[in-house]
Amino acid sequence: MATDAKEIIICKDVHKWFDRLHVLKGINLTVKQGEVLVIFGPSGSGKSTFIRTINRLEEHQRGTIIVDGMELTNDIRNIHAIRSEIGMVFQSFNLFPHLTVMQNITLAPMWVRHWSQEKAEKIAMDLLARVGIPEQAHKYPAQLSGGQQQRVAIARALAMQPKIMLFDEPTSALDPEMIKEVLDVMLELAKSGMTMLCVTHEMGFARAAADRMVFFDGGQLIEEGTPAQIFSHPQHERTKLFLSQILH
């Protein structure tokens, strides 16, 4: 990652409440183009909520979020424009069960980007080859394993040719033997220069791919640093405690 790359996500003092529950307490974070960021922390720390504010699946109530030069407000056109630049991969895949793998991937490119069916399908096949399952194109999601479904979900997000990819615990719902196949795809994507925000507890992936790691606890950004700094010299007590609990 070049150090002079432009800042593609700028979050200033982001607050979020669920009713009266204060879940994000003033997050300041800047992400540069091409950066791979791993966000980790205990459950309930607000890390998933935070990355969901970036494509406005959750609305923030104070502070500013600027994505690719556009500020996130209630302006619906802005939201659609930003969402089509951001790919998102969910913990529970969320593939559309009534559509085939191919239709899952081509739906948004054809209706949001207005590509022809041939173009969309060609790109979909390239992406399926990239995630290693070109032979599954005409099956329905329920016919695939969890790992294959998550790879389709990644291909579906990439088909929109996004500038940023968000991963919300992409391997947490997978059987252990399928985690690696998804991480391999993510690793390859990280090396290709994609800007990535990954909420994950896969510390092996963080060590191998992350440019920076961010520790969340209690709705606050507690600590950030390179994987080397975080793993060998965590500064904060809570970071040390959390790392000691998950690295065994």
Partner: protein, 400 residues
């Protein structure tokens, strides 16, 4: 030589007819006893019914009034128009069965079987009549269309268009034109019997379905005016019996409209049934909408799809698929509820049955006439139910 465990077949008594009999009918002494008691009961009831229907029942009442049952007071010299419509539907069914195959083919073949059966019956009941000729023509055209169209997938889109066009042509052909010599007007007050039952049911179903979907979406809308209107409409209409709505549209609607504007009787009944069914449809569809996981909607939004596209491509297809059984149940109920049109003086199938029974020579033949009417309703209701099961299978409901 012993077979290894993974090639061992199931025990002989657990498969096949014998296995089934043993397992289900004669598994214990009291099950055996129950089986025999049930068989005896079926015999006593069934034999009585069969011997009555073969010996003392006067089925000639059905044959003598056949035209009335089918088309009611439709002018006899114009009945050929109805036959042309049937012929057209037969051809469409034939082509559809050939193009789509599967369940549609089952229906096409059932239709051909129905024509053949009716033709045989007609041969005995009315030896020389044009009915027989028309039936045979239908049989020929349904089979010919099927074999000609078999496997031509390219016709699918044309076929959907032809069905829609056929619907409009049917109405034009049956209604005719004022002052025309070839196609003199047959006003809807002269439509009756099974023809009218079908018209009431099909038009109400076709119109109430999109209305119901819109109302269901409206009820979940974020726009207050749309939401309040949808809730008011649904709750008001659901709170009133269908009979009341039919009376309202028949008797009260003309009071509100200017005198020179007279809406057709049949159209008013259709409007009432459509209004009523749309409200129930809306609630069924809403049930399906609520069952869609939020993750589906979020995934679609995250791809940049706007709300209309999310609803059209992600929410509605899944929601409707889930509520097929409820929707078809509603359509079957509507089909049977068309009989309520008799109370607003429309002569649909049940209305014809009652007018036939009022003729002095057929007094006391309620059993025969009502069994016939019930059989007709059952036949078509069951066909709808069967189609819905097959549709669920084809769409993989509950499997993916």
């Amino acid at each position: 030589m012993t077979a290894s465990a993974d090639t061992l077949g199931p025990p002989r008594t657990s498969v096949g007819v014998l296995g089934w009999l043993k397992k289900n009918l004669f598994s214990t002494w009291y099950n055996t006893l129950l089986t025999f008691v049930t068989l005896w009961f079926l015999w006593v009831v069934g034999s009585g019914l069969i011997s009555w229907s073969l010996t003392s029942a006067r089925w000639d009442v059905i044959a003598a009034n056949w035209r009335l049952f089918m088309v009611g007071p439709f002018p006899p010299d114009q009945v050929w128009r109805v036959w042309v419509v049937v012929l057209f539907v037969s051809a469409l069914f034939g082509v559809s069965g050939g193009v789509w195959g599967g369940t549609v083919r089952t229906f096409t073949m059932s239709l051909a079987g129905g024509y053949a059966t009716l033709a045989v019956i007609a041969l005995f009941v009315f030896p020389v009549s044009e009915n027989l000729v028309w039936l045979l023509a239908n049989l020929v055209i349904v089979l010919a269309a099927y074999f000609l169209a078999r496997g031509r997938k390219g016709l699918q889109l044309w076929l959907v268009g032809a069905w829609l066009l056929g619907f409009i042509l049917t109405i034009l052909l049956l209604q005719g034109f004022v002052g025309s010599t070839w196609l003199p007007e047959v006003s809807t007050t002269q439509w009756g019997g099974l023809l009218l039952t079908f018209m009431l049911a099909i038009v109400s179903i076709v119109v109430s379905f999109p209305l119901g979907v819109l109302l269901a979406l409206g009820r979940r809308s974020k726009m207050p005016a749309v939401k309040v209107f949808s809730i008011l409409y649904i709750e008001l209409v659901r709170g009133v019996p269908l009979v009341t709505i039919l009376y309202m549209t028949q008797i009260m609607l003309p009071l509100f409209l200017p005198g020179e504007l007279r809406i057709d009787n049949v159209l008013r009944a259709i409007a009432g049934m459509t209004m009523f069914t749309a409200a129930y449809m809306a609630e069924n569809v809403r049930g399906g909408l609520q069952a869609i996981p939020t993750g589906q909607i979020e995934a679609a939004q995250a791809l940049g799809l706007n709300n209309a596209l999310v609803t059209l491509f992600i929410v509605l297809p899944q929601a409707l698929r889930m509520v097929i059984p409820a929707i078809v149940g509603l359509f079957i109920a509507l089909f049977k509820d068309t009989t309520l049109a008799t109370i607003v003086a429309l002569l649909e199938l049940l209305g014809v049955a009652r007018s036939v029974l009022a003729q002095p020579e057929y007094l006391g033949l309620q059993t025969e006439v009502y069994i016939f009417v019930a059989a007709v309703f059952f036949l078509f209701s069951y066909a709808m139910s069967f189609a819905s099961y097959r549709l669920e299978e084809a769409l993989g409901v509950g499997k993916r």
